[in-house]
């Protein structure tokens, strides 16, 4: 067992340099609500911990080009308490709110939720449907990556060993658009999603859907953006028939496993139930958002 090294650099470049120089396993620490637990239960034994909380640019939330830039290490409570952001992205907030308890959200971040790459992470499907763009910084410079390209498998991401997600850009939001996220858990809270569905949609003046993104969580090795499901809503008034088609596409995209958190059959079935409920919630928000 090697000694654990803890570093808390004050700049992104210093953090990247530390990661690039790590000999053994290195972990980026933001809130620590996954990393510390994984260390405690001996799932991981890192050699280096790079705490990014002292880097100002990964912690703030600010307006940018009509949208928002959210620091990857901004805490869940910081995000929930940001009135403008919360009003604009209620579906993202629904996801963030479901991450652990209030105490956990006082530490946990969307960056951590995404990069931990759990298929059941609650803020991830609504980030997918929001079309959020991750800013990734490494030794070679900056990449702007759609969030759905970050997780690749349970616990695995497309990031290189020496790359860090520093922030997310949430694009400007047209009027008459709305998003929503719901998950299913056997308990009311403090649980891990058995399935989760996020939908973000936009309507024209006549109430016809012009754009829709549907994402599902906990029913495949990563959260999935289901293009067919979104397409099923576009050009419709999000009526029952369109929703049925969307539900069928969402169910078809599920590739769940039987595990301690649920059976395949149950997950596929309930994904459809949630997709229907979430579509109605997103539609209601879009109609109200004049």
């Amino acid at each position: 067992m090697s000694e654990l090294r803890y570093e808390a650099p004050e700049s992104v470049s210093a953090a990247v340099a530390l990661l690039a120089g790590a000999k053994g396993m290195a972990r980026v620490l933001a809130g620590g609500t996954d990393v510390i637990v994984q260390m405690e239960t001996e799932l991981i034994e890192p050699e280096l911990i790079v705490d990014i909380k002292k880097i100002p640019e990964v912690r703030g939330i600010s307006a940018e080009n009509g949208g928002f830039r959210v620091g990857a290490a901004a805490t869940g409570m910081q995000i929930c308490d940001h009135k403008e952001f919360a009003r604009t992205w209620p579906g993202v907030i629904e996801g963030v709110k479901l991450i652990g308890s209030i105490q956990v959200k006082g530490r946990a971040s969307m960056g951590g939720n995404l990069c931990n790459a759990s298929p059941g992470a609650d803020s991830v499907p609504p980030m997918f449907t929001a079309g959020a763009i991750a800013r990734v910084v490494g030794p070679k410079g900056v990449r702007e990556v759609p969030v759905e390209q970050i997780p690749t498998a349970p616990g695995k991401t497309s990031l290189a060993k020496d790359e860090i997600v520093t922030s997310f850009f949430f694009p400007a939001r047209p009027k008459r658009s709305g998003d929503a996220y719901q998950r299913f858990t056997p308990r009311t809270e403090m649980d891990i999603a058995v399935t989760g569905v996020a939908i973000n949609l936009s309507l024209d003046d006549k109430g016809v859907c012009t754009a829709a993104r549907v994402a599902i969580g906990a029913v495949a090795p990563t959260a999935l953006l289901v293009k067919d499901a979104g397409a099923a809503l576009v050009g419709t008034k999000v009526d029952d028939a369109a929703i049925e088609k969307m539900v069928a596409a969402a169910r078809a995209a599920c590739k769940p496993i039987d595990d301690k958190r649920g059976t395949k059959e149950f997950r596929i079935e309930v994904t459809g139930v949630l997709a229907k409920r979430v579509a109605k919630a997103a539609l209601e928000r879009a109609l109200a958002n004049k």
Partner: protein, 764 residues
């Protein structure tokens, strides 16, 4: 020794009470809410080492060899123990089995079974040392499901085991070769064939329930030291300090007098802390290292290494006449235990129907070993599991004959003087009063909310007494300490202090209860079975009356009057009449400060095998709402009605009612051990072992019925077990009424309910 109080408790319904029945703040409450209370893991001693346990990765395997040499050489490791460090005791005997559960000898019997342990100067060194221990296993087939384990071709855990009570004609058991069935137990009364022949309606179903963990917040933790003289001190969280001491004496081959067990504050037990796990290991490590050793379990170790309650399968059949009279009842019950016996399964056939006056009953029960941690007690051990079925059959019969659910139960309710299936004749009991209170409560009379289903169920628990030894000391200032040999699992200290304060006529703040170590008092039976507040009430009221008598004698001698000339009233000793003479009344403090010129310290002790516990009965009413698209059950409203005899501290009683119901809600809806095909538990943590969280349960309403138990000075009955007994049945009945199909298997989790709903739709 005869004890007058057991024959004459002095109970009087007319007694005016000042303290009993009020809700003072618990003396130990402040420290608990501020985090200052000392639990066993808070204990730190100079030079203390960290102990860690190496556990079996296999569900069933022969241990071929254990090589600890590399671990012993690691710097910072001070001791390593294995089976070789524990006295050999024959397997198949109570202590032989007990020592094998503490540390494996010939075989490992479940994933998580301890195989070796180390004590080191730090946790990281101890963990590294565990990885250096080489254990060679020969993996054997395993069996966890009890019904599978009963089959003739099942893997056998113990080649030597022959079923106790095997009976020709019962193909499930045999006496001529090894079996996983520990015992076949038959209990009954009357003639069931005749009873069923008289029945106009008969209902029969098969049920299964899953093991659940007690889920105490505090994982097991202990600190052990060993002196050069060979004396051992053990600090631990336990419900049974004296039982631990005497069992340690047996398995470590030491005199009990050389073992001191000091209980710490207890972070929950619910029956799960009646048996030790790491304590003997910590002692052997401390003896070997000659330094104090602390072992604290992780939650994963708690799940993989400590006992849950038994899972069961039961077949239950009841017949009744059109007028609601039950004519016969029959049950066949299978109880899962761990690698060895210990499920206390005989409770179930004794208690399952007790509350109904039945002329003809037949029960056959089997206890079956399996490759999982040895089961441990949990509130009303083995009873809620079978009541899950009994109360479904009862509800279906009531529906069939068109009778109100509570009326049907009242029709068959046991009254005062009823005789049980296990031949106990009850005295004054409160089942009818409990049912009447349930029938008349607002919840039961209110319409079932839209979209909901309502269920009811009833339950019984014996309530216990038993060996209890405690003492009472009056300080010179008149304040009082009471030294208790039982554990405080649920706030008993305040209730016992209140009874003492009531007897002595002093404020409850003047009484302080201390939890004794095992050197201070005589043997106390385990704190379990809802016995403690009852038994300690008897013992400490006896002590209080002894010191009152003693102090009355001293007042008489101070006044130079005959003893009968002194009376005790409202905390003061006064002349019994004006004929005695004019004396200024003396308080307890007035007398207590005169020990120098009287006969010395004022104290009393009582050691009794307490009898006279009054049985407890309860009735639960629950409304649930099921989301038929997801199978999610919401508990909308819940009411617990139960006879407490007399609620000494009503808030504590309510807490028991609510706590039992909440644990039952978890058992009913989501709690489940999930094993892989390799026999390993896949959800050894609270994230995936789904105990309810606060938002999963509504406020549990309570109705305290008080039908006094005249054998107790204040009329109390134990209240700890009954509140969980009816819960799962009540919820299942409510779900059945909500969705039109009654679940007969636990947990009634969303995937299972959704499947049931689909099957129902398929049939429709």
């Amino acid at each position: 020794m005869a004890h007058d109080i057991l024959d004459n408790s002095g109970f009087s319904a007319d007694r005016k009470l000042k303290i009993v029945g009020t809700n003072p703040i618990k003396h130990d409450g402040w420290d608990k809410v501020t985090g200052a209370a000392k639990f066993s893991s808070d204990i730190v001693l100079p030079g203390m080492l960290v102990g860690k346990v190496l556990r079996s990765p296999h569900a069933h395997a022969v241990i071929k060899s254990i090589d600890t040499s590399a671990a012993e050489k690691l710097s910072g490791v001070k001791a390593v123990v294995t089976r070789a460090d524990f006295p050999e005791i024959k397997e198949g005997t109570p202590y032989g089995d007990m020592t094998r559960m503490v540390i494996a000898r010939e075989k490992v019997y479940h994933e998580g079974h301890p195989v070796a342990a180390v004590a080191a100067t730090s946790e990281s060194i101890a963990k590294r040392a565990l990885k250096l221990i080489k254990v060679e296993y020969e993996v054997l087939p395993h069996v966890i499901d009890p019904v599978e384990a009963m089959k003739p071709d099942a893997p056998v855990l113990h080649a030597y085991m022959r079923t106790k009570g095997a009976k020709p004609g019962d193909a499930k058991v045999w006496a001529d070769k090894a079996s996983n069935v520990v015992e076949r137990y038959e209990l009954g009364v009357g003639d069931v064939a005749k009873g069923f022949a008289e029945a106009e309606f008969v209902v029969e179903h098969v049920y299964d329930t899953k093991p659940m963990h007690q889920g105490y917040i505090e994982p097991q933790s202990c600190v052990a030291t060993a002196s050069e003289e060979g004396e051992v001190e053990l600090w631990c969280c336990t419900q049974a300090p004296f039982v631990y001491r005497d069992r340690l004496s047996e398995i470590l081959k030491m005199d009990s007098s050389k073992i001191k067990v000091q209980q710490s504050e207890l972070g929950g037990g619910f029956g799960g802390k009646t048996a030790f796990y790491a304590e003997p290991i910590a002692i052997q490590l401390a003896r070997k290292a000659r330094r104090p050793v602390k072992i604290t379990f992780t939650r994963s170790e708690v799940f993989r290494g400590t006992g849950p309650v038994s899972g069961t399968q039961s077949r239950i059949k009841i017949g009744c006449r059109k007028d609601g009279t039950i004519t016969a009842a029959e049950a066949e019950l299978v109880f899962q235990t761990g690698p060895y016996s210990g499920s206390a399964f005989t409770n179930a056939p004794q208690a399952m129907f007790t509350r109904y006056d039945l002329p003809n009953v037949k029960t056959v029960s089997y206890e079956v070993v399996s490759n999982r941690p040895k089961v441990a007690s949990f509130r009303a051990p083995c009873v809620p599991q079978v009541v899950f079925g009994v109360e479904d059959v009862m509800s279906e019969l009531a529906t069939k004959i068109g009778m109100d659910q509570i009326e049907f139960r009242l029709k068959n309710a046991m009254a005062d003087g009823a005789t049980t299936i296990y031949a106990e004749k009850f005295g004054k009991i409160g089942f009818i009063e409990t049912l009447e209170a349930a029938k008349n409560c607002e919840h039961y009379k209110s319409p079932v909310p839209k979209g909901c289903g309502r269920g009811i169920s009833t339950g019984f628990w014996f309530n216990r007494g038993g060996e209890t030894s405690s003492s009472l000391q009056v300080a010179p200032d008149g304040s009082v300490t009471i030294t208790l040999g039982t554990a405080d699992v649920a706030g008993s200290r305040i209730s016992i202090s209140m009874m003492v304060a009531e007897e002595l006529g002093i404020p409850v703040d003047k009484v302080r209860a201390v939890l004794a170590d095992t050197h201070q008092l005589g043997f106390n039976r385990v704190t379990a079975g809802s016995r403690t507040t009852f038994s300690q009430g008897v013992v400490l009221v006896d002590c209080s009356r002894k010191v009152i008598k003693e102090m009355a004698g001293r007042a008489a001698r101070i006044w130079k009057v005959p003893e009968e000339g002194v009376m005790f009233e409202d905390g003061m000793f006064r002349p019994a009449s004006t004929n005695v003479g004019e004396f200024k009344p003396l308080s307890i403090a007035d007398i207590a400060k005169q020990t120098t010129n009287t006969e010395g310290a004022i104290a009393a002790r009582s050691d009794m095998n307490v009898t006279g516990a009054g049985p407890g009965f309860g009735c639960h009413i629950v409304d649930v709402k099921v989301d038929e698209e997801t199978g999610f059950t919401e508990i909308v409203r819940y009411t617990v009605v139960e006879d407490a005899g007399k609620a000494i501290h009503p808030l504590q009683v309510e807490g028991q009612f609510q706590g039992g119901a909440v644990q039952g809600i978890g058992w009913a809806l989501n709690e489940e051990y999930i094993f892989g095909t390799d026999g390993k538990m896949q959800n050894p943590g609270f994230l995936d072992y789904r105990m309810p969280v606060a938002s999963d349960v509504p406020n549990i309403d309570t109705i305290i019925v008080e039908v006094p138990n005249p054998k107790h000075p204040y009329g109390l009955r134990g209240v700890g077990e009954v509140p969980v007994v009816p819960t799962m049945a009540a919820i299942a009945n409510a779900i059945g009424n909500c969705i039109g199909i009654r679940p007969r298997s636990l947990p009634m989790s969303p995937p299972r309910l959704l499947k049931l709903l689909k099957e129902k739709k398929g049939k429709a």
